[in-house]
Amino acid sequence: MKILFFAMAREAAGCASDELQVPEPIAADEVWAALIAKYPALAPLRGVARLSRNDEYADADARFADADVVAVIPPVSGG
């Protein structure tokens, strides 16, 4: 599964993207657990940042597949 990191999440992860090997389908909680296991600095963003799946915000009960592009979206500040 491709993971994209933006803004604070990119700074915390130290990279803009990564490939995550996960069993599918995987729930949002499990995506977060896998991300934090690999990038502990992302832990403070859990509960603050949202996950998107294929360019749309993912619902709390979303299931993610290996072919999905998942992004970690910290609180936004555009405009």
Partner: protein
Amino acid sequence: MKIEVELVTEPIETRWTPPIAAPSSGAVAEFRGIVRGEENGAAISALRYEAYETMARREMTRLLDEAAATHPCERAVVWHRHGWIPVGEIAILVWIEARHRGPAFALLAAFMDRLKQDVPIWKVEVAP
């Protein structure tokens, strides 16, 4: 409603040409969000915006569509700039065209409120 959304890196000032309003339109509301010379109480000279481009375009289109269900308008054009933007230059330009001014103002306000909650664009760095 006709929707055009663009993310640009060059100055909006030099590229923007106002569209020609349709004959049925009696109102145009244009909003320009400008980079202020101050961030968190400190003077700055520029701000850097980062965008998740594909999703930002999709979210802006979705929010405009959603807002148009309540505030029917004829056309919405949004340009958001990213990368480094000097103080005084336009970060976002929104053009709303409608039959009457009420829905144009309402759609503009509703869209800007939602943009600041949901569109994946961030202010990431400032230059003193």
